[in-house]
Subunit: 230 residues, 2 copies
């Protein structure tokens, strides 16, 4: 078993591994296997193949439910931004997965341990191992901790139009009057901050601020959606 991996998963994610071999496989690079031919090790590629598909479905299902009014094109763009090398390599780093990878000496020297493509592979392989070892529910719990909060943290805001989303959400069963108003304007001309409020049928449902009225409206709509969903 890779030293420290099981302990880290227990401490950081309350995951108690059943089959160590699966996680050894998920964190082992082909270069390490080639350097240890007698140990009959497996490397992560097959299990990564599975983990990739697990992530695709879990993220798709979550987005489908969370954004009931978002058209397919936007769902696909959002999924592509979440399920990609850049995002997965960041998640892997955040979970300290880089510290547990078994690499051959040449790859280690070439600093492969910090290569985004490798970190992305390891993240997918970990998901594959988790799926096989613990099942779907535990995978979803893990993703709810590591992946989905990034939506609320604004990682993918450039792909989301909160105002349109709020409007579609509120008007799905018929008309609903939505209004945005300036609450306050502060700061000097070159660093103005606007605070906006959004009202549905006259009732305050969200507030937000930004360096333009448009940006503040987006933040108010985002806040309103968050309040509604809670």
């Amino acid at each position: 078993m890779i030293i420290g991996l099981a302990k880290m998963l227990h401490n950081d994610f309350q995951i108690d591994i059943k089959n160590n071999d699966l996680f050894d496989e998920a964190f082992t690079h082909a270069s390490y296997v080639n350097e240890h031919p007698k140990e009959k090790l497996k490397y992560y590629e097959r299990i990564e193949f599975l983990g990739d598909a697990v992530m695709q479905l879990c993220v798709s299902e979550y987005l489908f439910e969370r954004y009931p009014m978002l058209p397919e094109g936007k769902l696909s763009r959002l999924r592509a931004a979440m399920v990609c090398e850049e995002s997965f390599s960041r998640f892997a780093k955040e979970c300290h997965f880089d510290e547990y990878i078994r690499l051959g000496k040449g790859e280690e020297k070439a600093n492969a341990r910090q290569r985004p493509s490798l970190l992305c592979d390891i993240f997918e392989a970990f998901i594959g191992a988790l799926y096989l070892d613990q099942g779907r529910k535990v995978v979803i719990q893990f993703i709810h901790k590591v992946v989905f909060p990034k939506l609320d943290m604004g990682w993918f805001d450039h792909l989301l139009d909160h105002k349109t989303e709020l409007q579609e959400y509120l008007q799905q069963d018929g008309d609903c009057a939505i209004q945005y108003d300036v609450l306050s304007t502060e700061g000097p001309d070159n660093d103005r901050v606007y605070q906006m409020a959004v009202y549905a049928e006259g009732k305050l449902i969200g507030k937000g601020s930004g360096h333009s009225k448009k940006a503040a409206e987006q933040m108010a709509a985002k806040q309103a959606l968050k309040n509604i969903r809670q």
Copy 2:
């Protein structure tokens, strides 16, 4: 509810629909929704987004388990051949899904009902609806009827090397002597048919025939794998 759809799913696949709306959505094209603005219909694209990911995972999981020795590259090529427009449109036709699509008049005239890209979309959308309505298990049962048998029917044989697969399977826990022998040669020079047998440690485990010794060996290996897995 689309006429005949629920009955067909009951008769042909023993599926009893709970939420008709999901299946109406899955079989409705945007052109039909545009022609019936008062009915507030939904078209299939969002549910297809989900169904696509469901298929990816179900096929990945099946291939991962069925071919424990196949490297990732071959698994990926096999998945790509199974999860693609050509395959899905054939599955859709086989299930008579084309008969239930709701299309606008213009698309109908343009013969969209038989267009592979549309048939593929509808197949994915159906899988999405089935997943939401009946859950994962019923989807897997359906795929076991409609999709996976094609592997045994040889649809994807050009991507599979049965001899290598058999060898890897039999030798995974150590050495195992594998031998191929000609059982018979029949027919004239220009239409020769060879029958080959494959033995593991001297025991007959499969037979196969073909127009070359190589082809007959592949068929014998395929038959042996089938016998072993049963």
